[in-house]
């Protein structure tokens, strides 16, 4: 019995070893070498002493935070209403549909919408506000990034709300709670796991959205992804690139720790 278990697990553990563990170890290993190939901690010293990299780290985290916040603000009510609608599957499909379209195509579509002679500006001229610079601003970057991440926030929240036992809500109102109290003390705490996985699914990729920073942000928004791309493709300083990679990985682990499910005793319901 034990052997068959190990047998079934083998393909995945090989995959894990080759494509998850090995790359992580390689990145960590590379980050200790300078361009001459000497073993050194200098990359880390450079990173933490450089105003450029620290500002960039702050920017990355701050933008990722804003993107996560906006998607959460939009997604929670959407998921909440979705659970109550009639044609759930249809609505869900409509929300997932945009994720089937390539990211680059969506980015180019937004360039068309936001550009000086684009749809939005035509509308602004029509309403008398006049042409505005929309592309290459923080607003357009945050908007497009949030748009792209929204499905990944809605789905886990929707699932959490959908799984909830309706008798809790009935019990709550039977015991005299009004709608707001029911939401605050019953529904929201029970959907918190969905929110946490949504936050993880959005925050972590948002840390290194580098195609969008160029296409929509016009490189006016610089995140760590830009620096990593530069170090691997242009300067070929893989050590420094890996160091930034390690910092990002650590940031992601911290994020997982903060939002991870705490295992309480007897909490294994599934």
């Amino acid at each position: 019995m034990k052997q068959t278990k190990a047998f079934y697990f083998a393909p995945y553990s090989i995959w894990l070893l080759l494509f998850v563990v090995a790359p992580l170890v390689l990145i960590l290993y590379q980050s200790f070498f300078d361009i001459q190939g000497n073993f050194t901690f200098a990359n880390y010293a450079t990173y933490f002493q450089s105003g450029t990299y620290l500002t960039m780290t702050f920017n990355s985290i701050f933008y990722a935070f804003l993107i996560t916040l906006f998607t959460l603000l939009i997604s929670y009510p959407t998921a909440y209403l979705l659970v109550k609608t009639k044609h759930k599957q249809l609505w869900l499909l409509l929300i997932i549909l945009p994720t089937w379209i390539n990211l680059l195509l969506k980015a180019y579509a937004f360039i068309g919408i936001f550009s000086m002679n684009g749809t939005v500006n035509d509308f602004l001229v029509f309403t008398g506000i006049g042409r505005q610079q929309i592309l290459f601003t923080d607003v357009s970057f945050l908007l497009v990034a949030s748009y792209i991440e929204i499905p990944f926030m809605i789905l886990p929240i929707y699932n959490a709300l959908e799984e909830m036992n309706p008798s809790y809500i009935k019990a709550s109102s039977d015991l005299g709670a009004n709608n707001w109290e029911t939401f605050r003390r019953v529904i929201f705490p029970l959907s918190l796991n969905g929110v946490k996985s949504g936050v993880q699914a959005v925050f972590i990729p948002s840390l290194s959205l580098f195609m969008l920073t160029r296409l929509i942000g016009g490189n006016r928004v610089i995140t760590l992804g830009t620096a990593i791309e530069q170090h691997f493709l242009v300067t070929e300083n893989w050590g420094m690139g890996s160091t930034i990679g390690v910092v990002l990985i650590v940031a992601m682990f911290l994020m997982m720790l903060v939002t991870g499910e705490k295992k309480k005793k007897g909490a294994f319901r599934k």
Partner: protein
Amino acid sequence: MKRLVTLAAVILAACGVLYYSSNKLDQAQGMTGYNTLNLYNWGDYIDPDLITKFEEETGYVVSYETFDSNEAMYTKVNQGGTAYDLVVPSEYMIERMIDEEMLIELDHSKIEGLEHLDPDLLDMAFDPENRYSIPYFWGTLGIVYNTKFVEEGSIEHWDDLWDPRFKDDVMLIDGAREIMGLALNSLGYSVNSKDDAELAEAAEKLDSLTTNVKAVVADEIKMYMIQEESSVAVTFSGEVADMMWENENLRYVIPPEGSNLWFDNFVIPKTAQNVEAAYAFINFMLEPENAAQNAEYVGYSTPSASAVELMPAEIIEDEQFYPSDETMEHLEVYENLGQEYIGIYNDYFLKFKMHRN
């Protein structure tokens, strides 16, 4: 499981049949390794009529494949899936391919018509004495502007980019060498400077440009300038030639104080199967009437002095693409700076991009 196996077998069989029939087809068209020239070039970078003419004159069959970046080309040539006989990389990539011994040293006795080329464009630092490469097209880095928004002739120098009237209106190409280079040029230094004080001065000057910068983008500049998103941009002359087909309000300026000179040259990779055909094609393209026809079609600047004489005056007198000798003297090819200085250029550039006003 059984269905899966059947499906896999069917797919494999289909692949086999397709491979066999495509081979048969190639042979039917006369495309055997013996008389085929595998040409690997940038997209839309040759007059198709010339390929037909070459095929008629020499009996070789040209298989034409295209790439859109030097890096993509490098990867494909390096991994050797197809044996390309003739490739057209840019100068910095040629230098790298020479270093990595990927290229055949050219036998100049087999090349006819080298005397047609402008001697000023031969024997450059990336390939001394043209031992590995023959110029195909060349160009510059400069400023493109739209006469709808900017008075014609009012931009001449790099310093004009700093003019307050272009607030949030300048687009820059996303390259450390190009942008640091223009700052160095505007101060009268070389684009290949390795002087730390000069670099620091250039970086400081760049910082004051940020108020005018609208975006730092790559290939999209072409689209934005055609759509008149911005009135001024810094980009390569080749891109500008394409833009001008679409928008006739655009003008191009090469600042006379200095700029970058770039090349796309013919090279023969070591993996080439048909070296004779490659030489035949190089010789064919060196013939002045062919070079002239090609330059008129593509719109880039031809290195062939004899071809220039054959071309209409309106093209060759256009200083946008055939700059004066005085400007030419101030143009420099990017030299390989070594990893340390490439790092320094890029760090300054990253800092510049980070700078918000």
